[in-house]
């Protein structure tokens, strides 16, 4: 009726949707101009100063947070202002977490591609000083050690999870559940020391071989397999088991023919992720499997090189041409990341395509 009635009661006392973006833009512009002036002021007094882009962005975002809080507090009140501040902080936390990931992937790809060539994948480091050479021996070693670890861990882990879900009652099952959790927390280097001590007592002091590395990796891998398989087996509906028993199927056949096929996709996904976890382990292999420049196909004698140890060794023991060693380390890191990513993608594909049609 009156002239003031034009005010929308629903949006009064609120900042408009776009105002936060304007404040962000404004904060960044002010900060960049300030840093530009600072740079000009410094460069007149001597050598040309560098433009501090990290500082500019940091100050800009800081400015944004403060200005947004103050404006919101004046316009909207204390509680919405607090809400906006927390939203800013939470988003900021996520952006900060992304920075190392982006930086890591970027540097590994850029530095790794220098030596990521055919020779790197097919040659060994035997008699190589400085340039050239490759990581074929390390790739072979990683494949052998990981395969052996998988062959040990999967049967033990899978059977244990079947015991926990289908058979285990009472004290023993509780103890196993608890100690599997404890085992998950064993530091990788302790697993390596265990394998080293075991083989030192069996075959004399200082025995290092690929198989010892596989034992160390198994200690790390078994609990992961148990936990993931257990979770998957528990997802199998009880009606399926009861239907099988009602048809007179013995328990072990019901598990083999009904429970396992229903959960096989999840179990395979878990195993693949477990492999991806241990394939990058360095410390236990450094301790238990040793390192060498030569190709070694036999897991039961002599030192065996693996890819993570190769990366570590190339980095710490740089020879005469340091850059060549560093390049090989980065190329090894790139190979490692590619393998791990590939395993993760495979795990996801398994989960998607082999999942039971009625499941979950």
């Amino acid at each position: 009726m009156t002239a003031v009635a034009e005010v929308n009661v629903y949006s009064a006392g609120q900042l408009s949707r776009r105002s936060s973006w304007f404040i962000l833009l404004g904060g960044l512009v002010v900060s960049f101009v300030a840093f530009l002036l600072l740079m000009l002021a410094e460069s007149t007094s001597g050598e040309p100063a560098e433009f501090n882009i990290v500082g500019a962005v940091l100050v800009g975002v800081l400015l944004y947070g403060v200005v947004l809080y103050v404006t919101s507090r004046l316009v909207e009140g204390r509680r919405p202002a607090m809400n906006r501040l927390v939203t800013t902080l939470v988003t900021l936390a996520f952006v900060i977490a992304l920075l190392p990931l982006i930086s890591l992937v970027f540097t590994v790809v850029v530095n790794g591609s220098a030596r990521f060539d055919w020779a790197f994948l097919t040659e060994t480091m035997r008699n190589v000083l400085g340039q050239g050479g490759g990581a074929a021996h390390a790739l072979v070693g990683t494949l052998i050690v990981t395969l052996a670890a998988t062959l040990i861990s999967v049967p033990i882990g899978l059977l244990t999870s079947i015991y926990l879900v289908e058979y285990g009652r009472g004290r023993l099952a509780q103890a196993i559940t608890f100690f599997v959790d404890v085992m998950t927390g064993i530091p990788s280097i302790v697993a390596g020391l265990f394998a080293f001590s075991l083989f030192a007592m069996l075959f004399g002091p200082g025995t290092r071989m690929g198989f010892a590395g596989a034992i160390a990796l198994s200690v790390l891998m078994i609990p992961v397999v148990v936990r993931s398989s257990e979770e998957m087996l528990r997802l199998v509906p009880n009606e399926l088991r009861e239907a099988a028993y009602a048809l007179g199927v013995p328990k072990w056949l019901a598990i083999l023919k009904v429970v396992l096929p229903t959960s096989i996709a999840g179990i395979m996904t878990g195993i693949t992720l477990a492999i991806a976890r241990v394939i990058g382990e360095t410390a236990p292999l450094l301790v238990a499997a040793g390192f060498t420049h030569n190709m070694n196909w036999n897991a039961f004698s002599d030192f065996m090189q693996t890819l993570p140890v190769f990366v570590y060794n190339s980095y710490v023991a740089q020879g005469t041409d340091a850059q060549a060693y560093l390049d090989r380390a980065w190329a090894g890191a790139l190979t490692l990341i590619l393998i791990v990513m590939l395993l993760n993608v495979i795990a996801r594909l398994i989960a998607r395509y082999f999942a039971p049609k009625n499941g979950r």
Binding site: T87, L104, L159, S188, V190, A276, G280, E281, M341
Partner: protein, 320 residues
């Protein structure tokens, strides 16, 4: 029509099921596998004890690695460094992880959240040796100017007393790398727990006029407290045992100091083993294994504590 069971009706006896060979073999082998896990864990402790004992009682004069100190004098700076580095990592990682988990569970649009969760999981999949390489070659050089600035402007705080490390390989750098490594672990658990908050609690808070932050503070965070603690403890376990990243990033000299940015840093147990083990011989090997035993004991306590906290609050938290 139906009558109650008279005395003439025999009490139902349990049907005698035939014990099949297959059943026995199968249940026996699953039991054996389960027991094997207990045996392996016992073996880990036993072998470390057997091989570590000579190291603990080793004669300081004849053991080259001890350099005349007793074993406990040798191991104390390492224990301190391990705890200190892990503390630095957790102080940075926990608030960030809670923030990220909240962002994924309550702030990001639903379609985006899945992708973002996957990206954070990718961080967990990166091998530690790659983190080490990145920390030593990218992060350490990049942090030199920041450390110099800290020394110049905040040098009056003992933590930043300096002199700032010329290489950037200080314990703060190692702590940052560790923080990045434990971040996805803590985030994953926090995210799970945040998503399990009863929707009715959240909607009730919003219906009472709470802002999003007030809803989170009143319904999500109290519900998730146990989950956050256990996630932090699991992250702590990982940070304590992490080897390669610290070994490659940190330049250690075995002192006990809280100084974050200088080039004189305490080493950690795991990194010390990785650096010294390849060249160790004789009794030195036993000394290193004994330090590993101590690391094992520390992580065992931390992990058991985490489990205890989770189990104690299991009924009303959903974090397990």
């Amino acid at each position: 029509m139906t009558t109650t069971a008279g005395p003439a009706v025999k009490a139902p006896t349990k049907p005698i099921s035939k014990q099949r060979v297959g059943d026995r073999v199968f249940s026996g082998s699953t039991l054996a596998a389960g027991s094997l896990i207990l045996a392996v864990l016992a073996a880990v402790a036993a072998f470390l004890l057997i091989q570590g004992m000579p190291g603990i009682v080793a004669d300081p004069e004849t053991t080259s690695i001890l350099r005349g100190q007793s074993f406990w004098e040798y191991v104390w700076p390492l224990v301190f460094g391990t705890l200190w580095a892990a503390t630095i990592a957790l102080v940075m990682a926990i608030p960030l992880a809670i923030g990220i988990a909240l962002f994924i569970s309550h702030y990001a649009p639903r379609a985006l959240a899945t992708v973002l969760g996957y990206i954070i999981d990718l961080l967990a999949a990166v091998p530690s040796v790659v983190f080490g390489l990145w920390g030593a070659n990218v992060l350490a050089p990049a942090s030199r100017t920041a450390y110099a600035w800290l020394e110049q402007h905040l040098g009056w705080i003992p933590l930043f007393a300096g002199p700032a490390s010329g290489t950037g390989r200080s314990i703060l750098t190692a702590g940052i790398v560790l923080a990045v490594m434990v971040l996805p672990i803590i985030t994953a658990i926090c995210r799970e727990v945040f998503l399990q908050t009863p929707v009715l609690h959240e909607e009730a808070a919003l219906a009472l006029g709470a802002t999003r932050w007030e809803m989170i503070r009143m319904s999500v965070l109290p519900f998730a407290r146990a989950g956050i603690v256990s996630g932090a403890m699991l992250g702590l376990g990982r940070a304590l045992g992490e080897t390669m990243a610290v070994a490659m990033v940190l330049s250690a000299s075995g002192v006990v100091t809280f100084n974050l940015i200088s080039s004189n840093n305490p080493s950690t147990i795991a990194a010390n083993i990785a650096l010294s083990f390849p060249e160790a011989y004789g009794i030195n090997v036993n000394v290193l294994i004994a330090t590993g035993l101590i690391l094992f004991a520390i992580t065992l306590v931390v992990n058991s504590l985490a489990r205890y906290i989770v189990n104690r609050r299991k009924e009303f938290s959903g974090a397990n």
